[in-house]
Assembly symmetry: C2
């Protein structure tokens, strides 16, 4: 049994306007906690990244609990149970949940430490595990639940997705395509634009760094955008709002373009189009749709099996590179779902 537990802990909160970088976190080794009665020890195999994680490091209001100085950086991950002192889990079980930037996480039965309630068994886990964590996990559920159950696109609808080459965007666009939408993605490089069109089947892409979004949307969506799935906020979101169609649904999933901005961010003055077009702007998170996850899981697995949904994980090798992996989300360095591989997949996993 290993005793080495490499960890990244929060060294300091980011200054206003400071981007994610290695100086915010400290690398070191911690002990592996003794598993209490009712608890389990999980070995981390893969860790997901999310712009929200950087939000946890910042002080101020937020959706989820903050990370305090000295804490291990919280992260959703997939791992294997190494030790169990509860009948609910067996050694060898694959679990997903809140693990953190470390090799081993001890999950406690009560609020004394990290709660076992934050992890769940993955009886259908397949190799490679990063697909189970990403496309077939919370990122896939986000795309499925927020697009299908909240935005309710119809066949033939025009769907606009921002950060379209990102983890969520690359899945949202594909789900929209599977539903029969005309899918337009906005991304930041020609290479990403080509990828989402050629490999992922988007109908069109706009490079926001080199093209005029307003002009391009007028060309690509002359009848307007029926569903606008926004991950970026800021000026791109505001421009797109001027192109919504009657009864459009705008999903607010995030605002990565303004996450680093100091002080008040510019608001979308084109919110007035919500009235002009009798449209809705809806904030929703995947955790509000847990009852729909089994349904999402079935569909996502089938689509991947059928080859119509392409998993979009983008792997960074090694826990030691976790800070760079997270930072890449904010610099556009990722292509798809940025996952940190901490350890190779265990033997004996199923395949789809």
């Amino acid at each position: 049994m290993a005793t080495r537990n490499r960890q990244w802990r929060l060294k300091r909160h980011p200054d206003p306007g400071e981007m994610m970088n290695r100086d915010l976190v400290a690398w070191g080794e911690g002990h592996i906690e003794e598993v209490p009665r009712g608890g389990i020890l999980v070995r981390t195999h893969c860790l997901a990244t999310s712009p929200a994680q950087f939000g946890y490091m910042k002080p101020g209001p937020g959706l989820f609990e903050k990370i305090h100085i000295g804490d291990v950086i919280r992260a959703r991950g997939i791992g294997q149970v190494m030790e169990s002192r509860t009948p609910d889990f067996s050694v060898g079980d694959i679990v997903t949940g809140s693990l953190g930037w470390q090799d081993y996480t001890c999950l406690h039965p009560e609020s004394a430490g990290q709660s076992i309630k934050t992890v769940q068994k993955e009886p259908h886990a397949i190799s490679p595990l990063h697909v189970t964590l990403g496309t077939l996990g919370v990122d896939g559920y986000t795309a499925y639940c927020e697009l299908i159950n909240v935005a309710k696109p119809k066949k033939g609808d025009t769907l606009l997705v921002t950060a379209a080459a990102g983890g969520i965007g690359s899945l949202v666009g594909q789900v929209g395509r599977i539903l029969g939408c005309c899918v337009i993605g906005i991304a930041g490089t020609d290479e990403k634009c080509a990828w989402i069109c050629d490999d992922l089947g988007f109908d069109a892409a706009i490079n926001y760094k080199t093209e005029d979004i307003d002009v391009r949307l007028a060309q690509l969506a002359p009848q307007g955008i029926d569903v606008f799935f926004d991950n970026v906020g800021g000026e791109i979101m505001n421009t797109a709002l001027a192109h919504i169609a009657l009864h459009a649904r705008v999903i607010i999933c995030g605002w990565i373009s303004t996450d680093y901005k100091e002080g008040p961010i510019p608001g979308p003055s084109n919110y007035t189009h919500l009235l002009l077009k009798r449209a809705s702007m809806i904030g929703t998170i995947v955790w509000d749709h847990i009852e729909d996850w089994p349904d999402a899981s079935r569909h996502l697995r089938q689509w991947v099996k059928d080859g119509v949904l392409i998993p979009t994980e983008d792997i960074t090798e090694g826990l030691e590179n976790a800070p760079d992996a997270l930072a890449s989300l904010f610099t556009g360095g990722n292509r798809g779902n940025k996952i940190i591989r901490v350890a190779p997949d265990p033997e004996g996993l199923g395949i789809l």
Copy 2:
């Protein structure tokens, strides 16, 4: 039979930033059109006002058809059929619809002129007619349909209404109170704040000119705002967004505070709270809910009859004062539903 038809016509479009004023319109007399086969002639008794009317006078995109230079100013009104060449209407019928700032409006069967399809019979019209036009008309329908059917408040919800002493706001707040909401109104004078609390039964009021809205909302709605019915936009709306509760519904009814602003208006940077609170912002107009008007009408009449809904019409006497009546909406000069009385009520009307 009268032959005199006093009229206000559009003289010029407002300049950017120009407020509503008499110089935009020209007073004169026109002839009374000969009623074509299939048409009717309606004598105007009362005219409603709406911030949207001023929008029609401005060039650029908008929800409804624009008013062109030389056109009679379009306005929703209530009047009596003086002449009919269609079996659908009889002389003496009371009708509401698009009449205009004039004594007599000829309604045509086809698109050759103002269409008869824009007016409807009011078989339940009561005296005073301004109540039929306002509280029991489209303004009441707006409050009823947009609050009850779109925002869906529950008993005990906290409802925030802006422009609370305005035509729509004064009715929305009362309907909320009837439904058992805790109703907070924002208005621009202490006198209006006292009126909505003392006479209309709002639970609390905030004078946005003398009080800190952020501080007051924290005091008055510590659990957050469940339904936010916004008529004003701008900074007030943005401040209020920071106080929404989990799963709040924000109704966008208008943005009178920025209607005069030149260039891009500031957007609500606090739209991010829609995600933090998994809330919705919904643009809706009363014309999208026509199928619910009969239901709204029944309830509104009963509430007025029971004395729990106080009609809030604020009468300006005389067609000659129509421009000032409209301008008063933008300067806060009205208290309730600003109606222009063009002619006294006809004899023989029912009462509630």
